[in-house]
């Protein structure tokens, strides 16, 4: 029998339907893979084997009665940011020490409604703040990929580093993730996986630990474009409990995957051709355009003039919203509490001990830009920039562009503990330079593996779409996936 964990999510669905194996066998195979490899990869911060087996048995009963849901019996990992009832939910932070919610997030509830099986909770940058998964209270996640001929551990990207690593290392069939500035697409690119951030409002934010509410969106990381489409189908949908959830019908995303790109116009933004861009990133980008042209798409040069201001504007908006959202962690309602001589002392000591350095830094920046006398100069100005960034995209789409192709990241995965990045917060932030514009404008974006760098590490391309047109992204990403002529997989060392 082929190794069950190596099946794509779509093939695992077929195997379950054909009774080639049971949901319990599939779940046990994944639990075995986690047991065997998690001490090296560190993707899971908690596993739920009993719950997983119970859910798998329930799926087997449904499958035998022919009542299978969309993801019936499919074992998934869940980013630690999603509230899961009675199960570890700490946003990989010490301040939520011991927190087990009494409720379930809408996104995960949708997945369980459709028959998916929960394997456990996945590591991440603390409160989703980071691009390398090094800010987690639970330690760094290790990328399943290594450079050729090297034993050095690389980062899986962040903040959804545990999600990306678990998917790439066959420790789950797919994973939930979230993206505030690139946290789905950058780790997907670093691990040879597919990650989509849907349009803002497509997935409910209810029950997902908030970082920056006007930017946060949930989405899947999976091993193929079709797998990502199936997962997003289940995760999406209107939710009255989230006032920014959009009341729109969810299209059949999987049906769009093989639609092709014939007749589509692909925008190529000249501002993304940054100074000092590595030649292999540029070559990858051109290769992607050639593949899309070969399948009948037209390529058009476009300008998104405010691109360079997206990242600095993001580093005002995101910390400002974070400082407000994270005010709730005060040692009173849940999690860690450090006693002090009075209540203010308790707040200050609890938050000093509970938050990691990156989170504290962002709360401080956010507090500063929102403080009296600075609000207009920083926050209002950044929100005006957002209007301009969004208009750049609208102009491109109004001029006939269907989707925009860009690199996903400025480089392949880098080393854990990189000194230059650790000493300069801004250098680390530059990882999100190609992805952050999409969050600022609320658009959908997908990262798809497209090639490898000189050391054999995966590189991704990004497609950006019109609001609520994830279908075109799946179709175009599928063309790139097929054109690579390979299935991305790491060489197992763990």
């Amino acid at each position: 029998m082929t190794e069950l964990t190596k099946l794509s999510l779509a093939d695992a669905r077929k195997g379950l339907k054909d009774k080639s194996f049971t949901a319990l066998e599939l779940t046990d195979a994944y639990l075995g893979a986690i047991d065997a490899g998690n001490d090296k990869i560190n993707a899971y911060v908690a596993t739920t084997p009993e719950q997983a087996r119970d859910m798998a048995k329930a799926s087997d009963a449904k499958l035998s009665k022919g009542e299978a849901g969309l993801l019936e019996g499919i074992p998934l990992g869940v980013k630690d940011l999603f509230a899961t009832k009675g199960v570890h939910t700490q946003a990989a932070s010490h301040i939520l020490d011991g927190f087990k919610p009494e409720y379930e997030s809408t996104v995960t509830a949708n997945l369980w409604r459709d028959g998916a099986v929960m394997l456990g909770k996945l590591n991440m940058d603390e409160f989703a703040m980071g691009s390398s998964n090094e800010t987690s209270y639970y330690g760094s996640v290790v990328n399943p990929y290594r450079a050729e001929g090297s034993n050095a551990n690389l980062v899986p990207g962040g903040s959804s580093g545990g999600s990306a690593a678990a998917v790439a290392a066959w420790m789950c069939a797919g994973a939930t993730a979230t993206d505030t500035g690139g946290s789905i697409r950058q780790p997907a690119a670093f691990t040879g996986t597919v990650g989509i951030k849907p349009t803002y409002g497509r997935c409910s934010r209810w029950g997902t630990v908030a970082f920056a509410s006007s930017l946060d969106q949930a989405g899947p990381i999976a091993r193929t474009v079709e797998d990502a489409a199936l997962m997003l189908q289940s995760m999406s949908g209107f939710d009255p409990k989230d006032s920014t959830s959009v009341d729109l019908a969810v299209p059949d995303f999987a049906a769009a995957v093989e639609r092709g790109v014939k007749g589509l116009t692909i925008g190529v933004p000249r501002e993304y051709r940054m100074d000092g861009m590595p030649a292999e990133i540029e070559a990858l980008w051109n290769q992607g355009l050639e593949w899309l042209k070969a399948e009948g798409a037209t390529v058009k040069d476009i300008s998104l003039p405010h691109t360079k201001y997206a990242l600095p504007a993001y580093y005002i908006v995101a910390p400002a919203e974070a400082s407000s959202n994270l005010a709730r962690y005060d040692g009173v309602k849940y999690g860690l509490r450090v006693s002090g001589k009075d209540i203010t002392d308790m707040y200050e000591l609890t938050r000093a001990a509970g938050f990691g350095r990156e989170v504290k830094r962002r709360i401080m920046i956010g507090t500063y830009v929102l403080s009296a006398g600075y609000f207009d100069a920083y926050y209002v100005k950044a929100q005006k920039l957002r209007t301009l960034i969004k208009k750049d995209f609208e102009d491109a789409f109004n001029a006939g562009v269907d989707t925009i192709l860009t690199p996903a990241t400025p480089s392949a995965a880098f080393a854990i503990g990189d000194e230059a990045l650790a000493s300069d917060p801004v250098a680390m932030y530059l990882n999100d330079v190609f992805t952050v514009t999409v969050n600022m404008a609320g658009l959908p974006g997908i990262a798809v593996p497209a090639g490898r760098d000189g050391k054999g590490l995966p590189l991704g391309l990004q497609l950006i779409g019109k609001p609520f047109d994830e279908e075109t992204l799946f179709a175009a990403a599928r063309v790139i996936e097929k054109s690579t002529g390979t299935r991305f997989a790491p060489t197992r060392w763990w």
């Binding site: 600095p312 309602k333 500063y368």
Partner: protein, 95 residues
């Protein structure tokens, strides 16, 4: 704009995060690096541009002002570090 040591301490107090004396210099350098980075926004003329209030063209939904939820105080306080009779317990705040 840049922040001095006194401002770092003031922000720490506003954010209710204890900043130890030995940490001030580090935070000051990091915050100034970030503020230096965002400074480039001053190049952009935003005269007459409306600040974004909603990323998608939608109005926030409103619901009827009625009670739709509640009556599970035990669940609300279940994760709290210190409770008594379904109340959150905190250090004395009124003398």
């Amino acid at each position: 704009m840049s922040v001095d040591a006194a401002t770092v301490k003031r922000i720490g107090r506003l954010a209710r995060i204890r900043i130890e004396e030995a940490e001030v210099e580090g935070y000051q350098a990091e915050l100034n690096a970030i503020l230096g980075f965002v400074e480039q926004l001053s190049e952009v003329d935003v005269e007459g541009v409306e600040p974004m209030t909603s990323v998608t063209p939608m109005h926030l939904r409103r619901r009827d002002d009625v009670v739709t939820d509640g009556n599970y105080a035990e669940q609300i306080v279940k994760n709290a570090p210190l409770t008594e009779d379904n109340f959150f317990m905190v250090p004395k705040v009124v003398e």
